[in-house]
């Protein structure tokens, strides 16, 4: 029988219907992003000018108000957080992938996943207790530490995952050349997985760049240039938060512009991920 029966036609219809549903749901994922971007540009672009990137915040309705200190502050906080999260995350990931026994690894992975799920404001509280109370001041250190805590399990797990993907045969080849294990890891395994590790770091930075809650009572925020890491430091999410809950239309517009810059920053980090994915000698995976 070559001619399609009614039953067969019904099956084809079902297939088409389910396919369409899948495509629709896939598009649904992108929809919020498109809406957000559209809305951010509509509300924020008009307030974006050179002054926004070079000037300090001004009183409401003053011309030439900017968020230069908050943009710089966010970058500083990302750097400080990286000092905490990157070395610990990478070394921990190396332990999990190269040294740890199965039992130990299960526990570490479990706790890393629990840490990953801890609400970010709790990290702020921890950093407050550890740093702010002792130093008797809100500070960039405290903010960076809180963000570093959030970064740590992310970097740990991505590092482990990409190291495990490095074929065993490369490790064997290096060991068979009479190289000690630490050199095998440092010079053969890590370089092979470098792209993946850097990608993981950049993604973790993108994740923490927008965190507001852990900064509320650690970095605190300010309206001036501060080059002292032991004092309060401004950050884009804090500035947006402050402006958004204010009573001034001018500040509301500034908050939209700040949000646009923040999204652009994470977008740039993602592009960095893409560019870095093209390593020497290797096609992107």
């Amino acid at each position: 029988m070559i001619v399609a029966s009614a039953n067969h036609r019904f099956r084809k219809f079902k297939s088409l219907a389910m396919n369409s549903l899948c495509i629709a749901c896939a598009l649904l994922v992108i929809l919020p992003l498109v809406v957000i971007l559209f809305y951010l540009v509509k509300m924020g672009a008009s307030s974006l000018n050179l002054a926004f990137f070079t000037n300090l915040p001004q009183a409401p309705n003053q011309p030439g108000s900017g968020m230069a200190n908050a943009i710089a502050g966010t970058l500083e906080l990302l750097l400080l957080a990286s000092f905490v999260g990157v070395p610990a995350g990478i070394l921990g990931g190396i332990y999990l992938s190269e040294y740890g026994g199965e039992r130990m690894n299960r526990w570490i992975r479990f706790w890393a996943d629990v840490l990953n799920g801890v609400p970010s404001i709790v990290w702020g509280m921890l950093s407050y207790a550890l740093v702010v109370i002792r130093m008797k001041a809100f500070s960039a250190w405290a903010g960076g530490l809180a963000l570093g805590f959030i970064m740590l399990p992310l970097v740990l797990r991505t590092t482990e995952e990409v190291l495990v993907l490095v074929p065993r045969s490369y490790r064997e080849a290096a060991l068979a050349l009479g190289l000690p294990q630490w050199k095998t890891i440092m010079r053969i395994v890590l370089p092979t997985a470098l792209r993946g590790i850097v990608t993981g770091i950049l993604l973790a930075m993108g994740r923490i760049a927008g965190e507001t809650a852990p900064l509320l009572f650690t970095a605190l925020g300010n309206d001036y240039w501060n080059h002292n890491l032991s004092g309060p430091i401004a950050a884009l999410p804090l500035q947006i938060f402050k402006y958004a809950i204010s009573a001034y239309d001018d500040w509301h517009r500034q908050a939209w512009a700040g949000a646009l810059v923040l999204v652009a920053l994470t977008f740039i980090l993602s592009i960095g991920v893409r560019l870095f994915s093209r390593g020497r000698f290797q096609k992107s995976t």
Partner: protein, 293 residues
Amino acid sequence: MNFMTPDETKPAPARASESSPAAAPRADSNSTAEPASAAARPVSAITVKDLSVFFGKHQVLKSVSLDIQARAVTAIIGPSGCGKSTFLRSLNRMHELVAEARMEGDIRLFGEDIYGKNVEPVLVRRRVGMVFQKSNPFPTMSIGENVTVGLRLNGIRNRAVLQERTEQSLRMAALWDEVKDRLNAPAVSLSGGQQQRLCIARALAVQPEVLLMDEPASALDPLATSKIEDLILELKKDYTIVIVTHNMQQAARASDYTAFFYMGELVEFGATSQIFTSPKQKRTEDYVTGRFG
């Protein structure tokens, strides 16, 4: 040269008395005149006595004893799972990468106990190199960097030395003419057969005394395979070679001695011509004639 850490240079007491004549240095008198073949005065490079290897509770090798002759090719044959690869890996302690691996017995490299107290596996592996079934050049490195990686990471920085050793190793691996103009090209740009010869060059560059080959041609086409076999015949002038192979013709063509393993036991060991033409054991005959395995 020995495997001891510098503060532990006391030589291991000779336990097996018959192995002491084998302790002669590698560059002995018969090295220059004729290639050490089955006929030449045999010198044991590796002496294995009562070797048993366990992975957890599973015993993979059962009391294997055999002498591997210097400057000759010894082939290890046998069906899958018979312990060939484990035997090979126990010769440079690579089997220890498996966490629950355990060994009993005695293995001596030119008289030195490679499992002795204070022996550093890393130093054993510098003298007993290895080539694997699947070619595995390091993907982050160029052709030239792959050849010299073992030297560079062991602290040799002199460019003249590195250059000389690159050419020498690639020539020995019969790859020099094909890659001399593109040493800076990525190693993964080479064909499968070339990659395997690059891996051989990489292993040769650190100047080991013994070269272990774990089915080095099983992933290659017939032409590349014959190149590897020619290479093996060439290399045995300077090196002791142990090769695991599934390919009976390859064992017959390329080796001087053949060991037949079955179910973790060494069934028969002898000159290759004898193993293939007049095996003493029924199981050997059945296997080499293709009746099982």
